[in-house]
């Protein structure tokens, strides 16, 4: 990222002059207002609103109004976008974001390239959060017993009840998700301090509590360490989906990517082995992936530990000694993994996602043996992203069972939905206060609902990693009468302060001294400007590894059984379900299954064959008196003894999707028979003193004979064509190309013919005088995380079409990620291929358009002119990549509030016309015009399409192919570069870099030995 752009991002920010608070918050309750405008007026005034009103009568044209501000705010310039650095609040990872503000409203979230954790990426969930800001489902006022009231009334009533508690000494419990902001901690401490018996309980719906519990035992500190994947040369992961959903996937993706340097002079690609029961995003990128049942994974971890101990000559208790790999795990080359881990010790890393303290203890031991502490694992400045304490949660539940809780305040979590609790437990609490911004399962039970702000309209602070703090700043005035949790709690503690004041005060007192800055103002302004700050915090003081902790590990022999296990897992888009009401995320195809709008039972092909079920048929999962009917999704690579089901579905907030999508004669609703999207599986979670458990043994499964069609964007999943239809030699299509690290190192690339020049039939009439835009996508780096898909949706106003339309293969995403399986023996390889308009030089779509609605630009772009399109669909038929999207219906834009998230730089397409990826031509135009205005040259990397901007793995590079010095030109020259369907001579402008697998022959030899 060049410094010039850096300057541009923030140049209009007035916070550097200290003027922001007033300007950004002109309607702060304490402020004297210049012009009192109501909320509606604000919306009306927001920017250069051009409202079209059709006047009755004989006017020539529909009369359009242009309504200027009465008083021009300094920071709003109609038609120009400004970026504010802030922090994402969509999950507890707290990535750095830039809020793109246009005409006074946020329209897009982008990654902050300078943020030390997220490195410029922003995941799908984070990107989609902007839509939730304009969610009409958000509570517009606080509620008492379900009725809308004012804040004054709520405050009075709650204060009365709290005072009572203070007097009686009743038990007050504050139940929250991870709140890593130091200010929140201070406020909560202060608030709870006013009660004689109060406690703050934290849990994470996607818990990592076992990790912190294990570290408490092995290193004397309850913490989740910070993993440095960028320092690892060998990674073994035991069911940790670190590229998908585990702890801080965006950060991990960034650092995982940073370690991969296949194009360097000395190519370097870390070796990664994954032991997992289902197919996860992380597993799909592994060099060796070993499917195993949950119990087997634990067993393998123990075996690996003892192998490593033997190599390190560290004595271990006899019961932890190797027991040998049983036949059911003969495909697992554990020796190879151990060898490679040992070879690179000091740069090796073992991660375990198992919610099982014993396994985590072993994992810590193995890392200790490998010398990972201090290199790939940082205990001094650990992660603060998962602070849940499941033991405390279990304690609260037993308190609730006893009826011992007098007041329960719930913020940031939805226990009634996501925990295996009986609803009576919460209903029985005499005072239940929810801070949920939605009318969800928990707030329905609550006596008081005090809706919190959306993070884009709220001040806040975070500290995702010990020593790295960041600020959340409001990008617009709150749309509704909501209030920050900090404000509510301090109000009830007797201090009526704004969140801004609270945070600034705390920072002045507690953080500024650690910053090394001269003045607090400069520290504050710099942090606001950068979005984050690094503090010189002392280490948390973890001790050295205590071998004694291993005493707690029991040794269980592996029982080879045929029992089925149920594994509950989070999906990349829906995760724990807190954003399940977001239509973008529901319609985002799961990176692995490519299914939208549902959860389903993933079965291995073998199990599906045994059960005689096919995709779309339902199965009944039973254990005891619990049963669950789910449609089947057949998942290659899944362990045959495992049924996996996604969490986060079936929430009441998904009832809103009953009416999404076009309405017509044969339209089917997006919801299931239960009126919701998918099934809630939270009652299948285990909650014991050990923590939340996502696995369940010995379940029964049976075919029901009923059907529940699932909406998948892909119907054929393999790179090979069906066997009975395959022409000889054409079984596998050369769409995805792969190479190995060994081949790269030796310089002998498998691909030699791909730079061959095609003979030219036509005269070269078309030169590109100035630029020739192109894109290169590194398939090796792409993890399929789909952040780019949502980035594209947000940038380009792509409509949501609903389940039925997706089922009919009419999703509208301009950018899709093709996922292919390729089976080699028992191994299932996965490849992701982001596929968008290839902007072909000899575009087949252009030739066939009768009305010149799609033609080529002088910069090599394949232009689609919406207003000229008559909708013959010939172009889409003739597109070999099938990347064109047709507006089958008029997609809904009636939600005026939601329309505020539309990008004004991109036309909203009407019914009957074709659309497709434009390489974000609006950004190209903006950059060209702005550079010309400022009389400066267009720099390489200055233009980033939305997909590239959001990609946490930096797999996408956009640039000018005419400029020999540009990054894209360099990448095109690499050996890994190829173009898809190059043989058709359509001359795509998008190139791909082949996947690199680290499966060196040397190691295959050792694998052979281990088999022998």
């Amino acid at each position: 990222m060049s410094t010039q752009i850096h300057k541009q991002y923030w140049k209009a920010l007035e916070e550097r002059n200290g003027a922001v608070p007033e300007d950004l918050h002109p309607h702060h309750p304490h402020e004297e207002k210049e012009i009192p405008v109501g909320r509606r007026d604000f919306l009306k005034l927001a920017g250069f609103t051009v409202g079209g009103t059709l006047l009755a009568g004989c006017q020539r044209a529909p009369v359009e109004k242009a309504i200027p501000f009465l008083i021009q705010p300094e920071e709003i310039h109609p038609g120009r976008s400004f970026y504010y650095a802030s922090t994402c609040g969509a999950c507890s990872a707290a990535c750095g974001i830039l809020i793109k503000n246009r005409d006074g409203r946020p329209i897009k979230l982008e990654g902050n390239p300078e943020h030390p954790l997220s490195r410029g990426g922003l995941c799908a969930v984070g990107q989609a959060a902007v839509l939730e800001l304009y969610d009409s489902l958000r509570l517009k006022k606080p509620k008492i017993s379900g009725k809308d009231v004012s804040w004054v009334e709520v405050d009075e009533a709650i204060k009365l009840r709290l005072d009572q508690l203070r007097r009686t000494g009743g038990r007050l419990r504050l139940l929250t998700g991870t709140l890593h902001g130091r200010t929140a901690a201070v406020v909560i401490e202060k608030f709870l301090g006013t009660f004689p018996n109060a406690q703050h309980i934290v849990y994470d719906p996607l818990s990592s509590s076992a990790i912190s519990q294990a570290y408490e035992q092995t290193h004397g500190q309850r913490l989740v360490p910070r993993f440095h994947l960028d320092r690892a040369l060998t990674i073994a992961s035991f069911d940790a989906d670190f590229l998908g959903t585990w702890i801080s996937p965006l950060e991990f993706t960034g650092s995982w990517r940073a370690a991969r340097r296949p194009d360097a002079e000395h190519p370097l690609v870390p070796y990664h082995a994954q032991f997992e029961s289902r197919m996860s995003v992380t597993g799909s990128k592994a060099d060796d992936r070993f499917p195993a049942a949950p119990a087997e994974i634990r067993y393998l971890l123990r075996e690996l530990t003892s192998l490593l101990a033997a190599k390190a000559n560290v004595p271990i208790p006899d019961r932890l000694k190797q027991q040998g790999v049983p036949a059911s795990l003969s495909h697992v080359s554990l020796n190879k993994v151990a060898d490679r881990l040992w070879e690179t010790r000091g740069h090796s890393l073992i991660v375990a996602g198992l919610q099982d303290v014993e396994s985590q203890l072993l994992c810590n031991f193995a890392n200790h043996l490998l010398g990972s502490y201090g290199t790939t694992i940082d205990l001094e400045h650990p992660s603060r992203q998962k602070q849940g304490n499941d033991r405390a949660l279990a304690g609260l539940v037993s308190e609730l069972r006893e009826g011992a809780v007098d007041a329960l305040l719930i913020a940031g979590v939805n226990p009634a939905y996501e925990l295996p609790l009986e609803p009576e437990l919460l209903r029985g609490v005499p005072l239940l206060v929810s801070f949920s911004p939605y009318w969800d399962e928990t707030s329905q039970l609550a006596h008081f609902v005090c809706p919190d702000h959306h993070f884009l309209e709220s001040w806040g602070d975070t500290e995702p990693v010990h020593g790295i703090v960041s600020l959340m700043q409001p990008a617009l005035e709150p749309l509704f009468e909501t209030r920050s949790l900090l404000e509510s709690l301090s109000a009830w503690a007797g201090e009526l302060k704004s969140a801004y004041e609270i945070i600034q005060e705390n920072w002045r007192l507690n953080l500024f001294p650690l910053s090394g800055a001269k003045t607090f103002e400069s520290f504050w302004d710099q942090t606001l400007h950068d979005g984050y700050a690094k503090l010189q915090r002392p280490s948390v003081g973890a001790e050295n590894f205590r071998t004694a902790a291993l005493e707690a590990v029991r040794s269980e022999p592996l029982v080879p059984g045929h029992a089925l296990a149920l594994v509950l897992y989070p999906k990349v888009a829906i995760t724990d379900g807190r954003h399940a009401h977001n239509p973008w995320l529901q319609e985002l195809p799961d990176p692995i299954s490519k299914v939208t709008w549902d959860n389903y039972a993933c079965l291995s092909p073998q199990l599906a064959r045994d059960l005689k079920v096919e995709e779309g048929e339902t199965v009944l999962i039973r254990k005891g008196n619990r049963s669950l009917e789910l449609p089947v999704n057949i998942q290659p690579g899944q362990h045959r003894g495992v049924v996996s089901v996604a969490l986060g579905y079936g929430g009441m907030m998904t009832e809103r999707f009953a009416h999404i999508g076009p309405k017509w004669l044969e339209a089917l609703p997006s919801i299931g028979r239960n009126g919701r999207v998918g099934q809630n599986v939270s009652e299948w979670l285990g909650l014991t003193a050990d923590g939340l458990s996502y696995e369940l043994d010995e379940i029964k499964i049976e075919k029901t004979g009923r059907k529940h069609p699932i909406a998948s964007t892909q119907t054929h999943h393999y790179l090979t064509v069906p066997k009975h239809l395959a022409p000889r030699g054409g079984e596998r299509r050369p769409i995805i190309q792969e190479t190995t690290l060994a081949a790269l190192t030796e310089g002998a690339h498998e691909e030699t013919a791909h730079h061959e020049k095609h003979p030219e039939l036509w005269s070269e009439d078309h030169i590109y005088p100035e630029h020739h835009w192109g894109l290169v996508i590194d398939l090796d780096a792409c993890t399929g995380c789909s952040a780019c898909v949502i980035a594209c949706q947000s940038e380009n106003n792509i409509p949501v079409v609903g389940k039925d339309e997706v089922r009919r293969q009419r999703e509208m995403h301009w950018l899709r990620i093709d996922r292919y399986y390729y089976e080699e023996g028992a191994r299932v390889d996965v490849a992701y291929q982001p596929m968008m308009c290839q902007q072909c030089g000899h575009a087949p779509c252009e030739t066939v358009c009768p009305v010149l609605a799609t033609v080529h630009s002088s910069e090599g772009l394949n232009q689609q002119v919406y207003n000229r399109c008559v909708g013959t669909r010939y172009c889409a038929n003739n597109c070999p990549y099938k990347v064109r999207r047709f507006n089958w219906f008029d997609y809904a834009h009636e939600d005026r509030l939601q329309n505020l998230s539309l990008n004004p730089d991109v036309a909203v397409r009407s019914r009957g016309i074709m659309e497709k990826c434009t390489f974000c031509v609006q950004r190209i135009q903006e950059a060209k015009i702005e550079d010309r205005r400022q009389n400066r040259p267009l720099l390489d990397g200055e233009i980033q399409p939305a997909c590239q901007q959001s990609c946490p793995a930096q797999a996408i590079v956009f640039g000018d192919m005419k400029d020999p010095k540009s990054r894209i030109s360099q990448l095109i020259k690499t050996r890994r570069h190829y173009r898809v369907l190059e043989e058709t001579n359509v001359r795509p402008s998008v190139g791909y870099l082949s996947i690199v697998r680290n499966r060196g022959e040397h190691h295959e030899e050792t694998e052979g030995k281990s088999h022998a």
């Binding site: 076009p662 017509w664 004669l665 044969e666 892909q714 119907t715 054929h716 999943h717 393999y718 790179l719 064509v721 009975h724 239809l725 395959a726 022409p727 030699g729 054409g730 299509r733 769409i735 339309e805 009919r808 293969q809 009419r810 999703e811 899709r816 093709d818 292919y820 291929q833 596929m835 087949p844 030739t847 066939v848 358009c849 009768p850 009305v851 010149l852 000229r868 399109c869 008559v870 909708g871 013959t872 669909r873 010939y874 889409a876 038929n877 003739n878 070999p880 990549y881 099938k882 047709f886 507006n887 089958w888 219906f889 008029d890 019914r911 009957g912 016309i913 074709m914 369907l981 359509v986």
Partner: protein, 446 residues
């Protein structure tokens, strides 16, 4: 009725006099419509109503009411279009090509075959219009001066070629048909009174039977026939280029023009047979449309079936021989993939069924011929379906493979097109002479 007659019998049976010919042909128009006619007409009208309702709904709601998707962008719409255009071609063939080849047997069937052409082209023309996402902007296909720069049309696009081909074909067919009708209109004018005399008086443009006019008339007719012959070949060639100029495996084939033209004649002949067998029965025209006509047309069907079968084989062979895995896959998938059933319907109806026509007994059995003609039409509809849908649904990238199934709206639209065709044809049978009186008189004495 079905007694055997030798093929060497005269073209027109029953030793008709000139006046008899006039009265035989015109009597159908003089009589009140039969119950059968009313029944057929009401069914056709009902089907038309269904089609109008479905089309209005589709135009008002969106193309999404069809079963298309991001991969299969055309299905029923263009299948129907090509099917109807193909049907139309037989009419032109009979009236123009057989005229040039001096096949005198054409006189009995050319009028209704030409009518069939026009109605089929109308049915065909509707589909490209309604298949557009924004049919109200269809006029953008025409290169007219405009305020946009001016922005013209893309003359490189086969759809523009199609637009010109179809509109020219319709215009020329209509003119040809009308020119042929002028003397007959005069005949009707001169034997009627009242409003019909007035109407046909206008239609006949003051035709007086003068031989000087006849002479020029014959020249015009010959010229039009000469123009229509390459035209009809060009039209279906251009229709085939809609596919052949693309890069989709299964479409991108140089064999398409002759293959399509032969297929068009094949399906058109079958449709003519279907209609003629119905017309001769219902309109009492057994003496004009004789077994000899049926026999000749059966042979045409058999011959074109041979060409079509050869095309199927060649196409498959070329693909397998090509060493192009995409092309090979498309054809294997066509026959054995998920939509393989449509391929087998196509081959059995178009290759196997017509083989029965080798037998004279079959050719003489009108019921069997009628059934065969209908099966051929079904087969030819499926041929277009196979070409369009099975090529599209699985092409280069397996990730985008898809399938297709029609919605009720699409089926209703297809039904509606048949409704429109038969409504127009039945009206034609009632209000215009179904047999070219003047031309039949010319061959009476043979």
């Amino acid at each position: 009725m079905l007694e055997a007659r030798e093929i060497s019998v005269p073209l027109i049976g029953g030793h008709k006099s000139l006046a008899q010919v006039t009265s035989d042909v015109c009597s159908a128009m003089d009589r009140r419509p039969t119950l059968w006619w009313w029944l057929a007409f009401s069914i056709a009208l009902l089907a038309l109503g269904v089609g109008i309702a479905a089309t209005s709904y589709q135009v008002a709601t969106g193309i999404g009411t069809w079963g298309l998707n991001r991969t299969v962008g055309w299905a029923f719409d263009i299948t129907n279009f090509v099917f109807w255009i193909g049907i139309g071609h037989a009419g032109t063939l009979i009236s123009a090509i057989l005229f040039l080849l001096r096949q005198r047997w054409r006189t009995s069937v050319n009028r209704s075959a030409e009518a069939m052409t026009i109605f089929a082209v109308i049915c065909a023309g509707i589909f490209p219009l309604i298949h557009m996402g924004r049919p109200w902007l269809a006029f953008w296909m025409f290169p007219y001066p405009n305020y946009r720069g001016p922005l013209w049309v893309n003359f490189r696009s086969p759809l523009v070629w199609d637009f010109f081909a179809i509109s020219t074909y319709f215009t020329i067919s209509l003119v040809f048909w009308y020119i042929g009708l002028i003397p007959d209109c005069a005949t009707i004018r001169d034997r009627s009174r009242g409003w019909r005399r007035k109407v046909f008086g206008i239609l006949s443009l003051g035709w007086d039977g003068s031989y000087r006019t006849w002479l020029r008339y014959e020249t015009v007719y010959l010229l039009l026939a000469g123009l229509a012959t390459p035209l009809v070949i060009s039209v279906h060639t251009i229709v085939s280029w809609d596919f052949a100029t693309s890069i989709i495996p299964g479409w991108h084939a140089t064999i398409f023009p002759p293959y399509f033209v032969a297929g068009a004649i094949f399906s058109g002949m079958a449709m003519v047979l279907t209609l003629m067998i119905l017309v001769r029965k219902t309109m009492n025209l057994q003496d004009y449309i004789t077994h000899r006509h049926v026999d000749v047309m059966c042979k045409m069907v058999l011959f074109t079936s041979g060409i079509v079968s050869l095309s199927y084989f060649t196409e498959f062979f070329t693909a397998l021989y090509s060493n192009n895995p995409y092309e090979q896959f498309t054809f294997i998938n066509r026959a054995f993939g998920p939509l393989g059933w449509s391929y087998w319907i196509m081959t059995s109806c178009n290759v196997l069924v017509p083989q029965f026509l080798w037998f004279k007994a079959v050719r003489r059995n009108l019921v069997v011929v009628f059934l065969i003609s209908i099966l051929v039409n079904v087969g030819m509809w499926f041929e277009r379906f196979v070409i369009i849908v099975t090529s599209l649904h699985r092409d280069f990238l397996p990730s985008s493979w898809s399938t297709y199934s029609p919605t009720t709206i699409e089926i209703a639209t297809l039904v509606g097109s048949f409704g429109l065709f038969f409504t127009l044809f039945l009206l034609f049978c009632r209000i215009l002479p179904v047999i070219a009186i003047g031309e039949v008189k010319g061959v009476l004495e043979e």
